[in-house]
């Protein structure tokens, strides 16, 4: 296939790529950016189908880029070759590696989770063992894209079936979420929804909402974290809202030996999730 070359910083595609770093143009176009070899490979491996791929061989760091480009073309991407200077302009990273794709956004709803949970003991009548009962992470109003990406990694490592993001301040397709998640965004099902809708849905599905708050009496490790479970984490700055504190099925705290802010939200999440993994005997 003939590859179109872009050598001018004034090219409209170049301008659009720069615009896509911001949320509004991203949401208007319904697309997002996937930058970097590792991220693009993982996106393609997980079935993401980029519509455009921008490459700059002068920035390539290895020898596997041509194979990846072929894979992207096979998935339907139109390929453009950029000069080193033009790529430096469109790259989000300080040290680009010559690969930047545009792919369609997706949306998952709470209803989309039902088939995912169906095999995991969601039906009250099923005799699924504790290890395979619904196991979710719910995060509220996360502000920093890097934290959201790191939370997704921790949730992936713990083996949750999905992450539910309530009332987010950052959007899922921010380039720093893509990057910090190291590709987990492409594999772990993520739903964005309002807190009230999530609470109602959890209750309907008989999934316990266990919230973490420093004010709780019960240690997280003394709580029963088996069975259908949603671990609920608050925002970095303000913790959980009154809504979730009031609507929780249980409140737990992590014992803190040092400075009050030594555990960030991603660490608190991973500690709680892995205690659940331990109890569930996965």
């Amino acid at each position: 296939m003939a590859i179109e070359k872009i050598t001018s910083l004034q090219n409209p595609r170049v301008k659009q790529l720069v615009r896509l770093r911001d949320r509004r143009p991203r949401d208007e176009a319904g697309v997002f950016l996937v930058e970097g070899y590792r991220e693009l490979r993982r996106a393609l491996d997980k079935g993401v189908r980029p519509t455009e791929l921008y490459v700059a061989p002068e920035w390539f760091q290895g020898e596997n880029e041509p194979a990846l480009i072929t894979q992207a073309e096979a998935a339907g991407a139109q390929v453009f070759e950029l000069t080193k200077a033009v790529f430096a302009k469109v790259a989000y990273r300080e040290r680009p590696d010559g690969l930047l794709a545009v792919a369609p956004q997706w949306r998952r709803t709470l209803q989309d989770l039902e088939p995912i949970l169906a095999g995991s003991g969601l039906n009250p009548g099923s005799a699924a063992p504790a290890a395979s009962a619904p196991f979710l992470l719910v995060v509220e109003a996360i502000e920093k894209p890097g934290n959201l990406g790191t939370l997704l990694r921790g949730a992936d490592a713990a083996g949750v079936q999905a992450v539910i993001v309530c009332d987010p301040v950052t959007d899922l397709f921010n380039p720093n979420v893509v990057r910090a998640s190291t590709g987990v965004l492409f594999s772990v099902p993520v739903v964005v929804a309002a807190s009230a809708a999530v609470r109602t849905w959890l209750r309907a599905k008989k999934i316990r909402a266990v919230v973490t708050t420093p004010a709780a009496q019960t240690l997280y490790s003394d709580e029963n974290l088996r069975g259908p479970l949603a671990v609920v984490m608050g925002s970095e700055q303000y913790g959980l809202s009154d809504f979730w504190l009031k609507e929780s099925d249980a409140q737990v705290r992590i014992p803190m030996a040092g400075q009050a802010d030594s555990l960030n939200v991603a660490m608190a999440a991973v500690i709680t999730l892995f205690e659940a993994v331990r109890q569930r005997g996965a």
Copy 2:
């Protein structure tokens, strides 16, 4: 006290502050940089005594800076006032807050840990309960300053008595360690030493070295993590060296449900340390 004003980018102090971002000038001068209100406050609260404090009121973000400057002066700091432009030059951060101090580095040795551990059941004859037995984090060859800072935070939250950094690639006084540790660097005792010396010392003190490696048979939560314990973590990229794998008292792994690299070294550390906290009943 009269405050000296610095208005020129050519001032030798300005040039030296920029040089102190690099390790060699830092080590030659035996000092390091403490930038930012929160970090400086914590440093002063923990007994760090800055020799110089550079301030730029035009960058101040709150109203408490004068009190902090008074506290730094009382601790012995000479204060310099910089113009907005000059401060922007010396600031390490993208969004400076008008406070940058120079403070003396310190060094702790393995011997310095003995009084710290003395009250914690280090003596084999003591009847200290498990919760207060020696509890250490050992990290090997950490490369990224941000990871080292985050590891210090996790260790602080778990209540280890000290962190031992073996054969580090990054140095303890890198500005990104200071920043990522959110001040824990000033409170948790940190020793830098060679792996072989650390291994010998742990053995002499009858402290078990439990290493984490994906190749281990035993789950971290199935291992006995009570009693005198050093949790040993490898580098981000290469994991633990053969030395530590061979010299371990036990090898454990964290169960991984998702992508192989979903847990970074700081997360793996905090999961293992908090399982130890749980078992030790702290």
